[in-house]
Symmetry: C2
Subunit: 238 residues, 2 copies
């Protein structure tokens, strides 16, 4: 199977186009990552102003997705890429869908932060929520790094992190439920926290998806619906 490289094109113009769209994906990813950090910060400090800013930025992310989609369409129509170039465009088309949805989830956390800012403060669980947020924003960063370097091992590492995130999510959810049972007056507020925790868990899933597209691009193998062990075995067989 052909090994991907960015330097194999006769057309340097085509190279420049691919590099441009790749850069746009990285920029979109950077903004998305910042949104997770800001949304969580707004949640921790119950900062309605920062939460509002997260909402405003979501429109930018949406616009970036539309622009990159148009760019990919144009490249497919004009350049008619094959082999690894085609896989790169394919991976980008899939990646930006997940980035946009990570942006949506960060937006939800922002809305919850705004909602909670007007209510009585909850102290419990918040440290764990922040910890989970750090974990998933790290996952997004690692997935984007793996994408930038087209590094399969780094991508598999992101998939591994998702298991840890799922465990923390389950534990945090159980804590929230116990907390509601002990003090039913907190149910409404804890439900808002639960939605944030859920959004963070979903962000982890999307980061994992992005990592899987990296593997598809580099190896030409679709590992999306394999277990982690099966995926690692597939890749070692190359």
């Amino acid at each position: 199977m052909d090994k991907p490289t960015f330097r194999q094109h006769i057309s340097s113009q085509f190279n420049a186009e691919l590099e441009d769209v790749r850069q746009r994906v990285m920029a979109m990813g950077g903004l998305v990552e910042q949104q997770i950090i800001d949304a969580t910060s707004a949640l921790m400090s119950l900062d309605a102003e920062l939460a509002e800013q997260v909402s405003r930025n979501d429109a930018k992310i949406n616009q970036m997705e539309v622009t990159i989609d148009e760019e990919c369409s144009r490249i497919l129509a004009r350049r008619q890429p094959t082999a690894s170039d085609l896989r790169l465009v394919y991976a980008i088309i899939k990646t930006i869908t997940d980035l946009e949805r990570i942006g949506d989830e960060a937006g939800k956390i922002g809305r919850m932060a705004k909602d909670l800012a007007s209510q009585e403060r909850i102290q419990e669980n918040m440290r764990e929520v922040q910890h989970l947020s750090r974990q998933v924003s790290q996952m997004v960063r690692d997935a984007l790094d793996a994408f930038a370097r087209m590094d399969v091992m780094a991508a598999l590492n992101v998939a591994r992190q998702d298991r840890e995130v799922d465990r923390e999510y389950e534990a945090l959810l159980r804590q929230c439920i116990t907390f509601m049972m002990e003090d039913p007056r907190t149910i409404r507020r804890v439900m808002d926290i639960i939605w944030c925790v859920r959004a963070l868990e979903r962000i982890g899933d999307h980061a994992k998806n992005i990592a899987e597209y990296v593997v598809y691009f580099v190896e030409g193998k679709d590992i999306r619906h394999l277990t982690l062990e099966a995926a690692e075995q597939e890749i070692q067989q190359r």
Copy 2:
């Protein structure tokens, strides 16, 4: 702008390939729709066996997604489609991602049904949950119909239904929270119901996404991040 048609190709083989992949999307959509119905049925009757079957079918849906992705990659590489053919392939690539995620959401409802089957029964809210489920499976059916006929008006109608679904979702969520506050012993079970309601709401969002790809295919316009009113205006300007 070129108007899409399936009969404009010199190559009848190419036509056959596009038709084949379109048929596969419809088949995948049909299975996904059945999964929503079965998962909800399992939830209503607390039928652990049917819930188990929903879990098993999810693997089939995942496999369908991988196969259609491979097919689309091959078409892009060999046929190098342009104009409306390219938009069709693009719309298919996006559509199957949403169909797969609808399948995931149905799978979650199946898992909740299994979990609830081993607990004490809850009577409350269940009629409303079933109603919401009917609404969203209708949305999925309508989105697939719009896709099959490439019918923009039908697609916009799906987007309109999503508003109604969101309203019902919000109302149902408020009921669930009230119910937990009135009887905290039900919190664990009601949380399972809440996850199902959330999954149904997400299914509505994915159906709306599919409808938006139909508009993109037919009109060449990306309406994903517009309000419904703005989208309708865009389309009337053609």
